[in-house]
Symmetry: C3
Subunit: 387 residues, 3 copies
């Protein structure tokens, strides 16, 4: 056989494996890849499911318990991710997303890539009249455990796929189901995330998605740059405006640094595909995010170059919207409407660039998309962009 | 021996069985009954305890982790319950009852029968001055794990009893302990719930209880009717008033249908016993709720005949009160006062009617209670009934 | 070897023992001591880690899952602790510290000694403008699971040490790490808690700590007294003022008794060390809290001599502050400032006095500290002391 699948977790069948290792031997073939499902124990991680995929070259860790988030990745000695002052992964049972402040989500934030949505993402929003929390920061999906997880290995296409289902539902309210697939090929240095959001209600729904991809040392260092086909750059607030001249480069860790956020529209190829590259100061290592502007028209850049212990990190964030409060984004039309029974799809590829040559190639791809077009860089927040 | 008991869970003794099966062989007798205690795994159900009782004819599922709620029941091919868009059972660790909106309870709502209480039930209530949540929708008891669970089988009386203890306590505030018993007889098609609520404080307490019994397809279908000895019927709001002429019948699933709720006083026999029947369109199958008006004077009918995927369901809800906000019900005197060290008791029997003959018998029992007396059906909300 | 250590839990290494017993045999020596790590099961205790240390004479129970709190202790037949109407220990997954009321913490309150902090302790505080919860009652540390736990036995010094690490962190906000050590000597009747709070941020932080040590029957009974070198005694409110003449003695359980709280400054020896004794009515048994006023300048006395079922208890509470709302205490300067990368240390010893002689010795130690100095006892709340 060339394809084989394993169900690792299925709530409806009362199935959950505590520990599973899948190797080429299970398919009677040779190869250096390996897939391991573990259960984490101790402290805030108690009971968290983790799936670690090693394609023979690239290793990455998926967290079914945390909405199929991507915890970390490794390419040889290069660790991709960041050092959050929150030491996770954190079981959602210990995260109070609905805390009155709307900030409880921050207690579980330490992933390389965390999805923000689905009802909403962005800054918390409060009812104008009562002052009560309406939308917690960055939404609920990252703290919902997957109800179905399976792995498929195809020795013909040389592809490993991890599929998960996460539901964000509330009786009388939203009924969304995310079917996500992480796929990678043997000995490749990239992985692709393919998310389909199904509105399984009979009525229409609105949703938001923002992929909060976070990078610290060593990809981010003093002198790192983000290279992207920027069409428009808008500082989120006066603080970000004060750093507009260096919006695309990063300083070394600095205690007390207050975050700066920029909202961008990118140029894209005719078919909508576009790319953003983060590279280190010496352009020797980097990473690309490849996505489609038709699915993810907004791009936010979060610069949080504070001290290492406080979380030296940048967020590259393709989204359906900017992370303003939900109602503001709704007024701007930056939500996705899905009819009953229909789906919306999102694709995001992470390509890791371990050499100068790879970085140069990725930059060339950005320049090709840009095609000599200029960026409009605003020196202050713009109406319609910033709440 | 004719009676034997098994302790399945006892927090104070650090006892909890992961998996236990009890069959007639354990008592050295013949019989088709079976009791199985399982632990559910995967997604939102991770760690949920379930007890499935099969009396030889009727099977039902009890959820100790969810306040000894009744998840589902089966009589041959007939499944009793409903398809909630929330796919549970949901571990309370993933339900934020205290979310500022007061609506977090909805994230765990998928049971056939869920108790609403004990401090309060009904619509969420907020402090008038500060706007802060005072009483979350339908209270806390359904999301409190049982601290003691045992099973008793008596081969002489042919009775299976599952007993559970659930506490709803807060230091400085309420100290209530619910002792519930689910009992059924070998090869019977009914089960009885006997709840005693003990106020173990030295001082007096107030409580509310509402049995939220929920039915979808196939018992509920287009043309289903509720047959009950209605004395008074009051629509909860204008929406319900608009459907008052058909308050006791149900349409087929309809996308976007907005719920209608009716508050009823029922006639009862001299000893207080009364009955409500739900039957399908062809009167070939049905279910009765049998309870005592002296314990549960209020009856609410919830019609939520929306699309199947959104939760096509009706709730038959005997209660100590109507599900208005707690303070309003208190002003109307619809709370139960329990002196320190005293108890209040509630009995509720579910009789399943698998044939036309059974349905007809149940309807006859309702008519006997009604004894030719008319119902007063109000065409708009009434003061003292509707907040 | 004379020293040996065991790691019982380490989140970062995915290590957690379900059940471990350590005895003198493990070190090849004789002795009556024993250390047992168990996992609790059933109800609200499901999954709670407990470490029970028996030094040959004194036994005490530590709860890693509840922030390394001290659950109970036993000296022969004498149980130290209290009977809370909350029947724990309660897994933090079932405690909503962030409930809008700020009172969710009360759902898990049943320990002999619970730390209140670290961001704040005391009464809940709400934003003046929006009414939203800012600081929940008594803070978060007691509901944070330890991320590292180890045990060390030194047969030379005859000391058993249980070490735990608990983090109270939120991205963008506080980054505090508590390293606690419980130590006791073979066959001794005391235990010492040594807490170091590290601010692992690069920037400065503020913290509070209050050790909420709680005692019920039999140490607390009608006629019990607290003996301490009081310099100043201030009733928290009018209710406490009404009982000021008997502030240091305790009545028998009385249904409906409303709590009284007193704020004290104590005299201390020149090196800062001071002591508070609680003794029973006949002065035959007691307990001392020994601590340093330079670390813990405030002492609060909580008298809650209500009915036994409602929690007959007194709290002896050395702290960095009084349990007023956080902002008020900040205005009075009663917070601890810790520079980035620095630590604050707190020591607290509990000495159990099983005989009249031991009680008399402890009282003599208090009198020596007092050195004949009088207490100023205020008959009403004082500005700067009471919010």
């Amino acid at each position: 056989m060339t394809t084989r699948s394993w169900t690792l977790l299925h709530q409806a069948d009362n199935t959950r494996t505590d520990h599973t290792v899948i190797t080429p031997q299970d398919l009677g073939v040779d190869g250096a890849w390996k897939i391991e499902k573990r259960t984490l124990h101790g402290g805030l991680s108690e009971g968290v499911d983790e799936i670690r995929v090693n394609n023979g070259k690239l290793t990455f860790s998926i967290l079914p318990t945390r909405g199929m988030g991507l915890w970390k990745a490794w390419l040889g000695d290069l660790e991709i991710g960041w050092k959050s002052p929150v030491h996770g992964p954190v079981n959602p049972a210990f995260v109070n997303v609905g805390e009155p402040s709307g900030l409880g989500w921050l207690d579980g934030f330490d992933e390389l890539l965390v999805r923000c949505g689905l009802e909403s993402n962005g800054a918390p929003e409060f009812d104008k009249e009562t002052g009560r929390l309406k939308y917690p920061v960055h939404g609920r999906i990252a703290n919902r455990p997957a109800t179905h997880v399976s792995v498929t290995v195809d020795t013909t296409t040389q592809e490993i796929t991890v599929r998960g289902i996460v539901e964000e539902t509330r009786f009388h309210f939203l009924k969304l189901r995310m079917v996500t697939q992480f796929s990678t090929r043997f000995n490749d240095s990239s992985l692709t995330i393919h998310d389909e959001i199904e509105n399984f209600s009979a009525g229409p729904a609105e949703m938001q998605m923002l992929y909060h991809a976070n990078f610290g040392l060593p990809l981010l260092d003093g002198g790192s740059r983000v290279v992207c086909p920027a069409k428009t750059v808008v500082p989120r607030n006066d603080r970000a405006a004060s750093g507009i001249r260096t919006w695309d480069s990063f300083p070394a860790p600095e205690a007390g640094y207050e975050e700066m956020v920029y909202f961008l529209e990118l140029y894209a190829a005719d078919d909508g595909w576009t790319r953003t590259v983060l590279k280190n100061a010496h352009s020797t290592q980097g990473i690309s995010l490849v996505f489609n502007k038709r699915q993810l028209p907004c791009f936010s850049l979060w610069k949080n170059t504070t001290a290492e212990n406080d979380g030296y990190v940048t967020g590259l964030e393709p989204g359906t919207n900017f992370p303003n409060p939900r109602s503001y984004e709704g007024e701007q039309g930056r939500v996705v409407k899905i009819d009953g029974g229909k789906r919306a799809a999102f694709l995001l590829t992470l390509e890791i660039h371990p050499t100068s040559k790879d970085v140069a190639d990725a930059e060339a791809a950005v320049h090709k998309i840009r095609a000599g077009r200029d960026a409009q860089v605003w020196d202050k927040p713009q109406p319609g962009w910033c709440s």
